[in-house]
């Protein structure tokens, strides 16, 4: 990774940390500062990661998910992209305050990883592999945001159940809106992941069964959660909790699977 690549991601991390720090300051001091600062900080971070991914993609002539560092940046970019679409559509005040620390943590984690082998020259691109990896990564972004919505839901639920609403309670979106967003993000992630999984079988060549089994397991976990919601009217509280558990599992097993696998793609 050259210095200019690193610079864009460092700038993005700084932007997300700024948004996070500003939100923490606003909530801790109860000064009720405008959430627009966090929003614009996240927009700036998104812009910097876009520039990095564009530059990198241009240099290698393919979707920049060729090493662990790029995968992490791409996942962060996907999550923030969905936040920018969902956040403005549902006007979810304070969702940025929860998104910024997750984006910061993902990028920080990216810096701690050794980039591993990276493709630096233009190689012959398999469009199915490109589609498979990008759909799967954007799906992970949607799952990450569903996890954030789940955390926000549980915060609201706890405040309502303890009957002691604090100042954050009045700044978070209504619990019904959070439940809808959580559910829709899971559906979005699941649909994208299904497309990613299906295109994986069209790549051709030798199938990496470890990765295929892991992907199928993730698909089953999310599919199971959504089935329980639709068929058995699982309570929104459990949906929120399971979206957090599922994403934590996804994130923690992801690196183990990549470690024991020798293929660069998912």
């Amino acid at each position: 990774m050259n210095w200019s690549d690193r610079l864009w991601v460092e700038l993005a991390l700084t932007s997300y940390l700024t948004g996070f720090g500003y939100s923490v300051y606003s909530l801790a001091t109860e000064k009720f500062l405008t959430p627009r600062v966090t929003f614009w900080a996240i927009c700036a971070g998104f812009l910097f990661t876009t520039v990095y991914l564009f530059d990198r993609g241009h240099a290698i002539g393919r979707c920049p998910i060729t090493n662990r560092f790029e995968v992490m940046v791409f996942m962060t970019w996907s999550m923030v992209l969905i936040y920018l679409v969902i956040g403005s559509a549902y006007r979810l005040s304070l969702m940025g305050a929860f998104t910024a620390p997750v984006a910061s943590a993902l990028l920080f984690f990216a810096f701690t990883l050794s980039p591993g082998e990276s493709v630096v020259r233009r190689i012959k691109v398999n469009p199915w592999l490109e589609a498979h990896t990008s759909f799967s990564m954007v799906a992970c972004g949607a799952f990450a945001l569903a996890c954030i919505a789940g955390v926000m839901f549980l915060v609201q639920e706890r405040q309502l159940k303890t009957r002691q609403p604090s100042s954050i309670f009045y700044r978070l979106p209504p619990i019904t809106a959070l439940s809808i967003v959580n559910s829709r993000l899971l559906w979005l992630g699941f649909s994208l992941f299904t497309v990613g999984l299906a295109t994986g079988f069209l790549i051709g060549g030798r199938i990496n069964w470890v990765q295929a089994a892991w992907s199928f397991l993730v698909w089953c976990v999310y599919g199971g959660i959504l089935t329980a919601r639709v068929r058995h009217a699982m309570a929104a509280k459990w949906l929120a909790a399971l979206s957090i558990v599922a994403f934590s599992l996804l994130l923690s097993t992801f690196w183990g699977i990549r470690f024991i696998s020798d293929r660069p793609s998912l």
């Binding site: 109860e30 000064k31 009720f32 500062l33 405008t34 609201q156 309502l160 159940k161 009957r163 002691q164 609403p165 100042s167 309670f169 009045y170 978070l172 979106p173 209504p174 619990i175 019904t176 809106a177 009217a233 699982m234 309570a235 929104a236 509280k237 459990w238």
Partner: protein, 351 residues
Amino acid sequence: MHIFCFGISHQTANVEVRERFAVPDSALADSLTRLSQVPSVQESLLLSTCNRTEFYIVTQDQNLALEPLFRGFYGKMEVNDFEHLFRLPAVPSVRHLFRVASGLESMVLGETEIFGQVKRAYEAAARSGTTGRILNRLFQKAFHVGKHIRSATAITRGSVSVGSVAVDLAQQIFGKLEGRKIMILGAGETSERTAWSFQSQGARQLFVSNRSFERATKLAEAIGGRAVRFDQWEEEFRDLDILVSSTAAPHAIVTRAKLEPVLRMRRDRPLFIIDLAVPRDVDPAVHEMDSVYVYDLDSLQAIAARTLETRKKEAEVCHDLIEKHVQDFEVWLNRTAERAIAPVPIECPRM
């Protein structure tokens, strides 16, 4: 050029005295015209609400006498009335207006309705042409201060009455209340007030049920809802979003056993129950059920009390913020006054 604020408020007089000084909206334009005809008055504005009637005057007369002005304005006045009037000179007037616009002088600390009332008073005066450079600047600054205080502090956050706390909680559960189905069970005074709070926040599907159907019909008509016979209210439960219960029943009428089959049909739709009855109408175990939130009178009052405590603490922060704005305005006022009395250069004839 001097600014004065004088008048009467809930802090200086009771409602019997205040109502004699009140100026109705219909008489505002005429009152402003009469005020501007007082010889020494250059600019004037009249703020009249249920809690205060205040005159903001810009005049050349440093010792503007209050009594003749009031007698001239109101005609007949009782001798004791003057005991209730307050009079503030320039800088305290500015500070007072900033505090009024921020809700710090209101009966309910931090209420926001006063901001709109000040705005309407200013618009009426501007339309009547009784404001000038000083009052225009002063009131624009007051609106800026009001907004700043509201956004930078927690002075307006939360609610301080049981009805408003219930509405706030409902909005944090459901968002907008327009399409929500709300049932008022028991047409007592507290539930009626809560029903009005919901109605004022846009709730349109209101149902009222009471042992006396006649009373239920009366309240339903008043709030634009529909009356339901008391033996039929449980049939409406399946589609209900909010239940406000305040019956005189000696035991719980909403129990876990009664709710469980209904909740299964509702498919995880949240249910907000406001139990205003003593003894309580809702079994406390209902609150433990998924997606059901039960708030009784004590919990609502505890939230209201906490909010009031927070607002009192925030009032000190507001005071410091307002003081900075007062100083800014004082600087501008002094500069304007200096310019107004600056000697005009006279060209001397050549000798």
